[in-house]
């Protein structure tokens, strides 16, 4: 069981005179839990999610982000005692990914010329390699690369990696079926020309393949039609039920929360989590908007 612990997180834009955006964020997400993070536009939700993943545009000025791991987090892999608590702020984005952090982007990038299959298999193998390295130190001297030719980089990674092509195809097919995605997407370039909804669906597909311990999903529900909202919700629930992933779901709408029921709902305001509660908090918001939260918070202050 993994725990993502965000304590008193302060951050600003990493530029000269960069604006302070986060002013003390506290959150704790455990494996198997579903949290909803809500809040008005510009309150700092996406910034929080990107800092968790390690975006270089922000500088953390105070507070910390810790990831606690337990034995069952990586299947049968035993986690050494001294590798159970990680200070994420000291790690590169890919190292965070290797330890089980996943970020579903509000605006996923489009990468031309890189097929979904090639990308996802490369990512999966990179993640497995990096994880071993982080947990057990440098893996045995990588085999010296022999002079001469090996496989074509066009077929994917040069070395075959943990997960071979055939095995990966099977995995990908299975996950695509779960999400009701057309197989033709396997050969499409990563997000290039995908519709808004297809991109969101693809973020969940990637999470399903990479099996994160904690997935932060930034407005995964925006731009989805009614059917796709259900497919995506099914995917998110499967992440939690089958892989025990902890979910931090950023959303503006009650709607997705009807399919993906949150255990906890948090409200963010001006760079802070100002209020937490259960699922009923989200329906209150739906009825009353944010003004009452603002009033409540500033009156108390």
């Amino acid at each position: 069981m993994a725990t993502l612990e965000i304590k008193n997180l302060h951050a600003r834009v990493a530029e000269e005179d960069g604006e302070q955006i986060l002013r003390g964020v506290d959150l704790e997400v455990k494996s198997g839990e579903i949290h909803a993070l809500m809040g008005p536009n510009g309150s700092g939700k996406s910034t929080t999610s990107k800092i968790i993943a390690g975006h270089p545009a922000y500088e953390v000025t105070d507070g910390e982000i810790l990831l606690h791991l337990e034995d069952d987090d990586f299947g049968d892999l035993e986690i050494p005692d001294d590798a159970r608590t990680w200070n994420l702020l000291e790690l590169e984005p890919n190292e965070r990914a290797a330890l089980g952090i996943f970020l579903g982007f509000q605006y996923p990038a489009e990468i031309e010329g890189v097929t979904m299959t090639n990308f996802l298999r490369t990512a999966l193998n990179a993640k497995i390699d990096e994880r071993e390295e982080l947990l057990f130190g440098e893996d045995d001297e990588e085999e010296e690369e022999e002079a001469g030719y090996d496989t074509s980089p066009m077929e994917g990674n040069v070395d075959d990696g943990e997960v071979g092509v055939a095995e990966f195809q099977k995995l990908l097919k299975e996950k695509m079926e779960l999400l009701d995605m057309d197989e033709k997407f396997m050969q499409r370039y990563l997000n290039a020309g995908f519709s808004g909804g297809e991109k969101k669906q693809n973020e969940v597909l990637q999470a399903a393949i990479l099996e994160p311990s904690i997935a932060v999903l930034d407005e995964i529900d925006s731009g989805l039609d009614i059917d796709r909202l259900q497919d995506v919700s099914k995917g998110i629930n499967a992440l939690r039920d089958e892989q025990g992933t902890g979910i931090l779901q950023i959303t503006h709408y009650q709607r997705i929360l009807e399919y993906v029921e949150p255990d906890h709902v948090h409200i963010m305001l001006d760079g802070k989590v100002v209020k937490s509660g259960d699922a009923s908090l989200a329906s209150d918001l739906e009825d009353k908007g944010y003004d009452w939260v603002r009033e409540e918070v500033y009156e108390a202050a």
Binding site: P93, R96, I111, G113, F119, A147, G148, Y149, S152, P153
Partner: protein, 476 residues
């Protein structure tokens, strides 16, 4: 020697490209370029009088012509001092003019090729290998069935002797005359080695014809000449690959390529250029395409300090067509100035030019192109697309796609993009588990993918590999 130590320092990432062999040469010409030098070269090759005369005429041209200096953004050529280059070196092989079997090559030469990774993958995939080590072709092999069909693939020097009539007709006469540019003139004076390919009427050469060129001698220039004559209805694919070890002194490479594409013939010419980062790579390549013929130029420019290369097609006959695919990669200290030229001189001619360039660590790439559509070249069409990707703010890319359209009933399409590699794109890939280098590499291979997917597999593999090496070299 301090240059040796410098060399050692830089070996880790590109070890295979950074070795140097003790120079064993049977003949080293005197430094400096004079009429006397030309006479010695020609005499040593036992050339007919007309070839000597062409060389001497070219030398005069060379001495008359000014160095190009005023092209916008062009590479700095002020350090090119031809007199400093020993222009002619012959490898120390027993058999004059080359050996017939790979096994007969001297061990150190074989070793060089092994390190380049050529024999294993390529020897199997490709049936004909002509390998140029230093200035002379030491290895030539051709499948017997080609010979039966009358296909000729041999050392250019040998062709002067054995196919004198054809060579005399085509060699630097109507395609690339020495007067074309200063380096074409230089080439005409001191050319040595290279390949001659002749494909008779209606013959299709199924396997690509391939030659590798290597420079392996300090201060040495390489001036190989390639002449391809494809008769009516024939088809051939020629692959030229270059790779050279790194040295402290500069090298000059100034090759010449002439291609004659007969009526309805089809020629594809592919180059992988990976000269060491001190080489000036100044080539002249041109094709003349007859009625219904098709010429394809595929060029990957990775190495060299400076490259100036603009393969040209003259679409001379009705319905002739051209396709250019160019990939350029410039790292620190490199200026890769490449492009394409197409002359539409007949009706219904067609050209497509696709160029992708990548610059990083202060490198510079230029796309310099010219499409000329002559008055009367009715119903011709051209499509030009050039995209440039920059890694950082220190790197530069320029596109200069000139068009001269003198005919109204034509179809002209043009697209150009120049952009910096996206930080958000890199972060996206990193957040999925790829490290910074792998993320960048993936973006670059995606950037060139639309081009690599059109290439023959063995060429695409080689190209991808070189790009990978370039990226490792700079990022690793």
């Amino acid at each position: 020697m301090s240059s040796d130590q410098d060399h050692l320092k830089e070996t880790d990432t590109e070890a295979r490209f950074e070795f140097k062999k003790e120079q064993k040469a049977a003949f080293v010409a005197e430094k400096g370029l004079t009429e006397e030098t030309i006479r010695v070269i020609s005499e040593d090759k036992d050339e007919p009088e007309w070839m000597l005369e062409r060389r001497l005429r070219a030398l005069k041209q060379y001495q008359k012509m000014p160095m190009p200096t005023d092209w916008p953004g062009q590479p700095d050529l002020s350090k090119v001092n031809v007199d400093e280059i020993v222009p002619y070196i012959r490898p120390d092989v027993e058999v004059r003019g080359g050996v017939d079997d790979w096994r007969d090559l001297p061990d150190d030469i074989k070793d060089t090729f092994d390190k380049l990774g050529i024999p294993e993958a390529e020897k199997n995939a490709l049936s004909g290998v002509g390998a140029q080590y230093e200035s002379e072709v030491v290895y030539q092999n051709m499948q017997e069935r080609w010979e039966e069909k009358g296909v000729v693939f041999m050392n250019m020097d040998q062709a002067v002797q054995e196919h004198e009539d054809i060579v005399k007709e085509y060699f630097m006469t109507k395609c690339v005359p020495p007067s074309d540019n200063k380096f074409a003139a230089l080439h005409g004076a001191i050319w040595s080695g290279g390949s001659f390919v002749y494909v008779p009427e209606d013959v299709t050469v199924e396997m690509p014809v391939q030659a590798y060129f290597r420079m392996n001698s300090e201060g040495m220039g390489q001036f190989e000449h390639t002449l391809i004559v494809a008769e009516k209805g024939s088809e051939v694919h020629y692959i030229e690959g270059c790779s050279a070890p790194k040295y402290s002194a500069f090298n000059l490479h100034s090759g010449g390529v002439e291609v004659f594409v007969g009526e309805d013939a089809h020629v594809q010419y592919s180059t992988v250029q990976n000269w060491s980062k001190n080489t000036y790579n100044l080539n002249t390549k041109r094709a003349i395409v007859e009625k219904g013929g098709r010429m394809e130029w595929i060029s990957g420019s990775m190495g060299s300090k400076a490259t100036m290369l603009y393969p040209a097609s003259i679409l001379k006959g009705r319905g002739a067509s051209d396709n250019h695919i160019t990939i350029a990669f410039a790292g620190e200290g490199q200026n890769i100035d490449t492009g394409a030229k197409v002359y539409h001189n007949a009706p219904e001619t067609k050209s497509t030019i696709e160029s992708k360039s990548i610059s990083k660590d202060g490198g510079r790439t230029n796309y310099r192109g010219l499409v000329h559509i002559a008055n009367g070249a009715k119903n011709s069409s051209t499509a030009v697309e050039c995209d440039a990707l920059m890694f950082d703010n220190e790197s530069t890319s320029d596109t200069m796609p000139y068009m001269e359209i003198n005919e109204s009933t034509v179809d002209v399409a043009h697209e150009a993009t120049v952009g910096k590699i996206g930080d958000e794109d890199i972060f996206y890939l990193q957040s999925r588990g790829l490290d910074d280098d792998d993320a960048k590499q993936m973006i670059v291979s995606g950037f060139i993918e639309p081009i690599t997917e059109e290439l023959p597999i063995e060429y695409a593999v080689e190209l991808n590999r070189l790009v990978e090496l370039e990226m490792e070299g700079s990022l690793g």
